[in-house]
């Protein structure tokens, strides 16, 4: 089986995880910029992080034959400080031409505050000005419903944004329909306690169709599983889904969305 891991925070994973993912059939991993678990004290910390994502991490992945791509942005957990956010957003354009950069992400909301919303609008504007794909993080747990609605309002209000070039990640049963109905792509994240389990993700695929949905592990420094995508493929097989359908969900769908970025298309995936 082959698969693409479209959302994984590999900087917080050990090298053994690359080996396990490669053994399970992972051909490419896409790593959005995210919160480090603590607030960085200055924009310089982000410069180093973006360098790590665009230089060091692709080399680490390549040792296991896995192609590494990345998304650059400021996570909403660090968006309350608007001045810092402006400095970080100002750093991003100089990295956009690097060969593994797919677009702007993961941007979005966390607690649905006014400053988070303002910084989201700034990053959507950045993506629009530079013709970049967008990967959006939706809030956790009780904040997800409201945050997803606010995010859709921001995207719909910017006429430069083409919905088919945006993926809204971490959807669940109560948010997937509004995302797909808006013409956007939707990502399901497979976590042990929050977000989706493999069984629920397959339920959503069976209910809402497979045209614009992908699966990801979003593995990071918290409780998470870098093999969550192949485990969900196994769940599909247990229910009798043929190999062609599994391949569509875990490989062709992410490839189809990501090929809108010429750098991904040129990679031959």
């Amino acid at each position: 089986m082959r698969y693409i891991e479209p959302h994984a925070h590999m900087v917080s994973r050990v090298t053994d995880d690359y080996e396990r993912m490669a053994l399970a059939g992972c051909e490419a991993v896409c790593e959005p910029a995210f919160w480090a678990g603590f607030d960085r004290s200055s924009a310089a910390g982000f410069y180093d992080y973006f360098s790590q994502l665009t230089d060091h991490e692709p080399r680490r992945a390549a040792k296991y034959g896995v192609k590494h791509f990345t998304w650059l942005g400021l996570n909403s957990k660090e968006a309350e400080d608007v001045k810092l956010a402006e400095e970080v957003i100002g750093l991003i354009p100089q990295f956009l031409n690097r060969p593994n950069v797919l677009g702007i992400g993961e941007i979005g909301l966390n607690k649905n505050s006014r400053n988070e919303l303002r910084v989201l609008e700034m990053q959507v504007d950045l993506a629009a000005r530079h013709g970049q794909l967008i990967l959006v993080h939706t809030p956790h747990l009780e904040d997800k419903l409201k945050g997803t609605r606010l995010i859709l309002d921001v995207l719909k209000s910017d006429r430069r944004i083409q919905p088919e070039r945006v993926i809204i990640d971490h959807v669940e049963e109560h948010t997937v329909e509004m995302v797909l109905a808006a013409g956007l792509w939707a990502g399901m994240t497979l976590y042990p306690e929050t977000k989706c389990t493999p069984a629920r993700a397959v339920d959503i695929l069976e209910t809402y169709g497979r045209e614009r949905l992908w699966l990801n592990s979003a593995c990071d420094w918290g409780r998470s599983d870098p093999l969550a995508v192949p485990k969900t493929a196994l769940e599909m097989k247990r229910r009798g889904h043929p190999a062609a359908v599994v391949d569509q969900v875990v490989y062709q769908n992410p490839a189809r969305f990501l090929q809108q970025c010429p750098k991904f298309k040129e990679s031959g995936l």
Binding site: R114, H140, E142, E211, V245, Q248
Partner: protein
């Protein structure tokens, strides 16, 4: 499916264009006095197409034979098969929930807003067929529309405390 194919299907079953809205086209089935809105996207997802047909009280569209081979309707498992595959796991999870509730009760009052939210969400388990997971998630969600003034924490706790924090 393609939007054009869906519209052909609606018109084949006697539905008519009622009017164009801002982002949708509105179709009517005058025979049963039902209306539905069709998004103006080139592709209409299976779920939405099925809902539109249900709204208009007409049969859902059939996919072509080749599409059926590649994208079969996957909720074709029988109830027996679903039970065989998931019953023990679901039973285990239900006992875990029961034990959790016993634990909360043994600890005694006062319980915070999460206990009340949990009790409300449990009621959704006897709700309408096919929407229970969605309804449970909605029961825990912040239903308000406006952004908050400022984030005072980064973490979510799993249940909305209400407009006035408890």
């Amino acid at each position: 499916m393609k939007r054009l194919d869906l519209i052909r299907h609606l018109e084949h079953h006697g539905c008519e264009l009622l009017r164009e809205g801002g982002n949708h086209t509105i179709y009517v089935n005058r025979a049963v006095k039902k209306v539905s809105t069709i998004p103006r996207h080139r592709e209409i997802i299976e779920f939405t197409a099925r809902k539109i047909c249900k709204d208009l009280d007409i049969p859902r569209p059939q996919t072509s034979r080749s599409q059926q081979q590649i994208f079969p309707h996957t909720n074709d498992m029988t109830q027996q098969q679903v039970l065989d595959l998931y019953f023990l796991e679901a039973r285990h999870q239900l006992v875990e929930i029961a034990a959790f509730l016993d634990r909360v009760e043994r600890a005694g009052p006062p319980a915070d807003f999460r206990a009340q939210a949990f009790a409300e969400a449990v009621k959704m388990l006897t709700g309408p067929a096919g929407n229970k997971a969605r309804e449970v998630l909605l029961a825990f969600s912040d239903p308000t529309p406006d952004p908050i003034a400022a984030a005072t924490t980064k973490a979510a706790c799993g249940a909305w405390p209400g407009p006035t924090p408890h």
